[in-house]
């Protein structure tokens, strides 16, 4: 169980990205975060694994206060949380295999990793992860030689290497076309269903939200304005969805709603 309590983030320039956000994520849930761009989705996800330090509030995961963790303890928490990025965030010039192996950095002996040495079983694990995302045979390619969808699958394989109990996905399909979006989300869903990994994923296509989310929270201007289950989302009309997205929703999400 992941509990987010009164989470607030104020950036140095005074921007308030999150205001007093609280919610729980039961283990094994596929929670979707919806909201306009700028509503604080990315900040929320990054506060959970502390890529961004929250200003106030707590994130408690299975009784451990992530917000209080430091140094080695924080790294040990992070390695159990996979993160999938909108822009994939692969090291473009490195090979696919190196990118996948880098997901293992939190586990292996740091001294070996500095000279790019990974034990045989770690390489096996990386090959297995690549096979799972359907990229067998691509391990020697440079990451930027792959298509967008393939790059995101490398991102998933990298997260898999962490043997995560929780996956945070920040708009994982926003840079991809709708068909690829289903492929990628299908793979994340598989991890959720088969491996029981909890997923917190931000999305902005209503049909994707309805199709994949078991729980939904909505953010607007940093505030939690909606909480619901899969049932609630299925019943959700375009109008209601627009409401969550605010007044400008029409222009921004107009095509997304059908996409």
């Amino acid at each position: 169980m992941l509990i987010v309590e009164n989470l607030t983030k104020v950036y140095e320039d005074g921007t308030v990205a999150l205001r007093d956000v609280s919610f729980e994520v039961p283990d094994g849930a596929f929670m979707v975060v919806i909201g306009l761009s700028g509503s604080g989705k990315s900040t929320l996800l990054r506060c959970i694994n502390r890529l961004i330090d929250p200003t106030a509030g707590r994130v408690i995961w299975d009784g451990v206060d992530i917000t209080a963790a430091k140094g080695e303890e924080l790294r040990e928490i992070r390695r159990q949380i996979g993160f999938i990025f909108q822009q994939f965030n692969l090291v473009r010039r490195s090979s696919v295999l190196t990118n996948v192996l880098s997901g293992r950095l939190g586990y292996i002996n740091p001294a070996w990793s500095l000279i790019n040495y990974f034990p045989h079983e770690e390489r096996q694990r990386a090959m297995a992860a690549l096979e799972r995302v359907g990229l067998t045979g691509k391990e020697r390619n440079r990451a930027d030689a792959l298509s967008g969808g393939q790059q995101q699958r490398v991102g998933i394989a990298r997260a898999l290497m962490q043997e995560p109990r929780l996956i945070l996905a920040d708009e994982p399909v926003a840079s991809l076309d709708p068909v690829l979006a289903h492929t990628i989300l299908g793979q994340i869903e598989k991890l959720n269903k088969e491996d029981g990994i909890t997923v917190i994923c931000s999305l902005h296509y209503l049909d994707l939200v309805q199709r994949y989310g078991s729980q939904v929270i909505g953010l607007r201007e940093g505030r939690l304005i909606f909480r619901g289950t899969n049932e609630d989302i299925r019943k959700m009309t375009d109008e209601r969805f627009k409401e969550i997205y605010g007044q400008e929703a029409e222009r921004i999400t107009g095509s997304s709603l059908v996409g």
Partner: protein
């Protein structure tokens, strides 16, 4: 890690404000008068300040150049040039007035005409100042043919065959002996054997005598020297050897006596016996030697000393570039971090350091390596090391700039991603930063080496060692074939480096 909101819309990205054209109507007459007094003033009056200042500066420049043309002795001013320039300057002034009037009444005024006047003035003066001379350019071009020909195809200076002087001699008597048995024997050889004969085998020398009160040279006996077994189509020199062994080349019709061997190796040459004063103590018939000498190539062709020298210096040059590049990298890396905006922007002290380093690097880079080379030659003396110093200084400045730009363009995404896997700080540097930085660093470095090879050839001209110094020597000695070889070697090396570095860099970018 940046502590900025990741998905906030960029601030202040409102719609582009349309440039407001303020319609001001001013008195055209006043504008004209102002511009007549001070060109550009009319525009300022009509609220076109920037234009006004620009036109004022242009007119001032034209008048200044006109004054300079009248007073300088830097170049020859042809007749009619000054009036032409003055007319154009005046026309420009008039145009500025016209333009000011138009600006005051909110209309456009023949911008093309103004541009034409400016261009006309500039190029008329430019042509003369740089002493462009089309007549010389065209008519004196053939003078360079000999140099061009040698430089363009210099390879005969690259290969030589060892040569040997072969000499064959016969005897000639003076005066003619009474006893035919004492006549020098003339024998023709056969086959490849070298031989010469002289006919007649005896005779009189040229003498200096007083004829009708004036000195005159009486030519000696006409003799014909024939020979065989020589290298075909090569020159044969005829030499004379007196009884005590002095050798000289006889002169016939103001030229030394030479012959060409024909295709079969035979030659024949006719000349008169030279002037020779037989000492009075000499008794009886004196026997002189007549020699035919020919320089013949023996053995296999081999590379000339100068070609080998050029190759040696080319290798030195490549290593010079390598050393300079290496020293440059070592020093450029620390500077590049200090000159990277994203690393130094944090606090005022580092920001000041950033500006200071950037300033020093910009100054250093703007000084050409050849100037550094002049300084380095004074510093460590002539030779390759001076060249290395000059190139190193310039390399540091250039690479530090390129490296720092590579550091500035790092994608923060992978850093975030690697941090998210639970990696520690050093692992993050190794897996997220270095892979992003090393390929552009390598690419820039190879490119720089390529540039350094090119530059080190020029640096040699001021004493920086390497092939440039050799080329400079050969040009000064007008050894065009050798200079041509050096030029070719440089061209080949530079194009190979260019191609190779291009291919290598493709793999890194």
């Amino acid at each position: 890690m940046s502590d900025n909101p990741p998905d906030l819309p960029p601030k202040g990205a409102g719609p582009l404000e349309e440039q407001a054209m303020t319609e001001v109507h001013r008195s055209p007459v006043l504008a004209a008068i102002f511009s007549l007094i001070l060109p550009g003033a009319g525009h300022i009056y009509a609220r076109q300040t920037t234009r006004g200042i620009g036109y004022f500066l242009l007119t001032a420049t034209f008048l200044g150049l006109l004054y300079w043309t009248r007073t300088t002795h830097e170049f020859e001013v042809f007749t009619g040039m000054l009036p032409a320039l003055a007319t154009l300057a005046a026309l420009f002034w008039l145009w500025v007035i016209g333009s000011a009037v138009a600006a005051a009444s909110g209309r456009n005024f023949a911008p093309t005409l103004g541009l034409l006047i400016v261009l006309g003035y500039t190029y008329l003066l430019g042509w003369q100042v740089t002493e462009v001379n089309m007549r010389k350019f065209l008519t004196e071009f053939p003078d360079t043919f000999n140099i061009f020909r040698r430089v363009i195809w210099p390879w005969r200076a690259a290969i030589e065959r060892p040569e040997e002087l072969q000499i064959v001699a016969t005897r000639w008597a003076n005066p003619c002996p009474d006893d035919p048995a004492e006549m020098p024997e003339q024998v023709e050889g056969s086959g490849d054997e070298l031989w010469i004969t002289v006919d007649p085998a005896c005779g009189e020398f040229a003498t200096y005598a007083i004829v009708e009160g004036r000195g005159a040279l009486q030519p000696g006996t006409e003799i014909t020297v024939r020979g065989g077994g020589f290298d075909p189509n090569e020159r044969v020199e005829i030499w004379w050897e007196d009884p005590i062994g002095n050798e000289f080349q006889p002169i016939f019709q103001s030229e030394k006596v030479n012959a060409m061997a024909d295709a079969n190796g035979y030659f024949s040459v006719t000349f008169t016996a030279p002037q020779f004063n037989t000492p009075s103590i000499a008794v009886g018939t004196q026997y002189h030697g007549i020699q035919a000498r020919q320089v013949v190539a023996v053995g296999n062709p081999r590379l000339t000393q100068n070609f080998i020298l050029a190759i040696n210096r080319m290798i030195v040059t490549i290593f010079q570039a390598l050393m300079a590049t290496t020293f440059g990298i070592v020093l450029a890396i620390p500077f590049s971090f200090l000159a990277a905006r994203n690393l130094m922007w944090g606090n005022p002290i580092t920001r000041f350091l950033y500006y200071a380093i950037r300033f020093v690097l910009n100054i250093t880079r703007s000084i050409e390596p050849i100037i550094w080379a002049v300084i380095a030659v004074v510093w460590v003396g002539l030779g390759p090391f001076a060249g290395v110093i000059a190139l190193t200084v310039h390399t540091i400045a250039s690479l530090a700039k390129l490296y720092s730009e590579a550091i500035e363009s790092i994608d923060p995404g992978p850093i975030e991603a690697i941090t998210a896997t639970g990696a520690n700080r050093i692992q993050t540097i190794v897996y997220a930063i270095i892979p992003q930085v090393v390929p552009p660093f390598l690419s820039f470095t190879i490119y720089r080496w390529d540039i350094n090879v090119r530059m080190s050839t020029i640096i040699g001209f001021v004493g920086g060692g390497g092939i440039g110094q050799l080329l400079f020597q050969w040009i000064n000695q007008t050894l065009w074939y050798d200079a041509g070889m050096a030029v070719w070697l440089i061209a080949i090396t530079v194009s190979v480096m260019d191609y190779a570095s291009g291919e290598l860099r493709k793999r890194f970018v």
